[in-house]
Symmetry: C2
Subunit: 411 residues, 2 copies
């Protein structure tokens, strides 16, 4: 029988000291001894990348992205060597590989490069020779032979890209939590680990602020149908399985509740209700690289003016205001009302597709607690509302209870 | 007129924080603005290499040298990028280069690789294009496309090798001291900076323990006749110039006094005085990679037995004793007397070549202070003595005074 091929990715928190590196190495060894071929992807140790970024920030945060990538990629270089060293010590024939040594070819968008090609034949030959490759995550090489990085959290993407190209049986993402939770356990005591999720669910959860997996890596896994598992690198328990369709027998409408507290709202009063106005407003923001999230335009009563409300990241609020102010006169906006005290709360679940009553249940529960909803946006498997930031703790707990997320899953 | 080409090397202590990196960058800029082409070599920031080595030591100090080199070389990777970032910020068109990007080809002796070739045509083209190359020191690439390192202090060697190959006008080594001193200022208050030294003098000083320049880099500079300057990266003062022959008008017999306190002495009593015995003894040590420094064999009185005394590094004392013990019976050695409480003291100076009275002056001065001399070894420009470790402070001060090293140099 052909050996199973497993890609295992260890994040920085799983490699923050020698004991943790050892524990990760033992985990890899155990998997190999169980009869699998393993390909390992490592992040930089602990907070190494943050430290390097802090040095960069002190020098020139907007400096040459090629130099910044050279600096940042050094963290994964060290950790891949250290992991190979440890594995060799405990009897596993392992070897570190840097992005340029495989190579992992990317485009030239330094700092957020896209993987174009991976020399998998070389990796296959390495594996065939009985060597376990320890690949430095987050990095590649461009055609001009300079080191690239593929964005923060990029080691997840490296892992999924390698797993896809090698047609791995699965890709295991080891982290410092037990898996993906119904909501943030720091806010809801009864938050529970979710055993099974679909790619779409985790994508919606990630896009609204759950820092579990890099969204690009999930999209890539979905595209290539690579089974993902998020699990603890410290505790020996089952993690969260992520695949195309979770078992239908798990009856559940809402899978998780996610929220973000770094949103800000801008309301434009008295916006002329004529074609091209919205394009002008959002175009001016886009040109400043300001991402707009939720947008609601009130129906114009007199056919002449309407109100427009949208959200941006709190970091962008000042720049967004400034940008709108510049076109205020030209567009004919009467007033700009910024509000940085808002939070976005979302419920996500593949079951919502076929259950129309979920939204009503959510709004009712919030209304009962006298929590006002500012904005609403929905997708097929997600409902997001914008509420006052001071209500977030109460709101999450209420919804967690209403949707019975701490109950045992019915099968 | 052709622009001068200067190689500037900055060590870890010159790059231990953002202010120091900035100060080094400004120094580079000033040199460029004065009309020179500059090639920069950087070490890792501050104690980065020590930190990485400490991680390696915790895992497997005798592990795969290829992995260790991958780990250690990451420090210079980060610093080359950071320096390039800083220079670009202050208006200098600079670019980082890693060993594999030039490439600097070395042999496969990982951890202590020898530079075989440097693609200087590529570097010349870069310089011609108006770009200042910031080269990661200490690293290269082997023919099997893996990162190599060339030994601790290797950035000096990288700098001199680059300077040689580019036929640079000089190679400036920036460090945290003002230059090379007549002796260790921590021991002798009146120690003075030496303005001019020859390659041979600095080599003798380095080989007997002065941690100023990596000896291999000096040999390379001597071989290629590259003028070296050791100077402070913080203070704007002239450093120490090192060249083939220093100005004859500087009348000086002794240039400097150096000492090391990590020597140990082993005396073998009653060694049979017949051919092949010394070879057997030192062969057994060499096979264990134990370096023997000074050797003295007493004249055999009866023609049958003599005493043999030699020094090894204190770290090797135990292993040396063990090794001799193994052949004690076979060779017929009567007794082994180890002594770890010794120190080696040397006076170095090119003027000693033509002045026979120096040795006598040294021995007299020590005798006057009742400091006993255990062993003596000499070269053309150096006299070393082994004395009791407890006398070292007194001995250095006495000799510093006797040879008038704190006086103004007569011209």
């Amino acid at each position: 029988m052909k050996k199973k091929l497993i890609v295992q990715k260890f994040g920085g928190t799983s490699l923050s000291n020698i004991q943790k590196i050892q524990s990760a190495a033992n985990r890899i060894k155990k998997k190999i001894k169980s009869g699998c071929n393993v390909v390992v992807i490592v992040s930089a140790l602990g907070k190494t990348t943050d430290y390097l970024q802090s040095l960069i920030n002190k020098i020139d945060i907007n400096g040459d992205a090629r130099e910044i990538d050279t600096i940042l990629s050094s963290g994964e270089q060290a950790s891949s060597g250290l992991m190979a060293l440890f594995l060799n010590k405990i009897g596993i024939n392992a070897r570190s590989f840097l992005g340029w040594q495989i190579p992992i070819l990317t485009n030239k968008s330094y700092g957020k490069a896209k993987i174009l090609d991976i020399n998998v034949n070389f990796l296959k030959q390495i594996i065939k020779n009985g060597v376990t490759p320890i690949i430095a995550g987050f990095q590649g090489i461009s055609e001009e032979l300079r080191i690239t990085t593929i964005g923060r959290g990029g080691s997840d993407t490296t892992a999924v890209a390698i797993a896809s190209k090698l047609h791995a049986d699965r890709c295991e993402i080891f982290t410092d939590v037990d898996g993906v939770f119904t909501t943030d356990p720091r806010y809801v005591k009864k938050a529970k680990k979710i055993n099974n999720l679909t790619y779409d669910e985790i994508l919606e959860m990630a896009s609204v602020g759950a820092q579990v997996l890099e969204p690009r890596s999930v999209s890539l896994a979905k595209k290539n149908n690579v089974p993902l598992i998020v699990k603890s690198s410290f505790r020996n328990i089952e993690g969260t399985n992520i695949s195309k369709a979770r078992k239908i027998i798990e009856k559940r409408n809402v899978s998780g509740i996610v929220f973000s507290k770094n949103d800000s709202k801008i309301t434009l009063l008295g916006v002329p209700d004529k074609p091209g106005v919205a394009a002008k407003i959002f175009g001016s923001l886009a040109r400043k690289d300001i991402n707009v999230d939720m947008i609601v335009q009130n129906i114009s009563v007199d056919g002449k003016f309407s109100d427009l409300t949208f959200t941006v990241s709190e970091n962008d609020l000042f720049r967004a205001k400034k940008s709108i102010n510049k076109i205020k006169k030209e567009v004919g906006i009467k007033n700009i009302l910024p509000d940085s005290k808002v939070a976005k709360l979302s419920i996500v679940g593949i079951g919502m597709r076929t259950n129309a009553g979920i939204a009503e249940e959510m709004f009712k529960a919030l209304a009962k607690e006298k929590i006002n909803i500012d904005l609403i946006s929905t997708s097929e498997i997600k409902i997001s509302v914008l509420i006052s930031r001071k209500h977030i703790l109460k709101a999450v707990n209420v919804l967690h209870k209403v949707f019975k997320l701490s109950d045992k899953i019915k099968k």
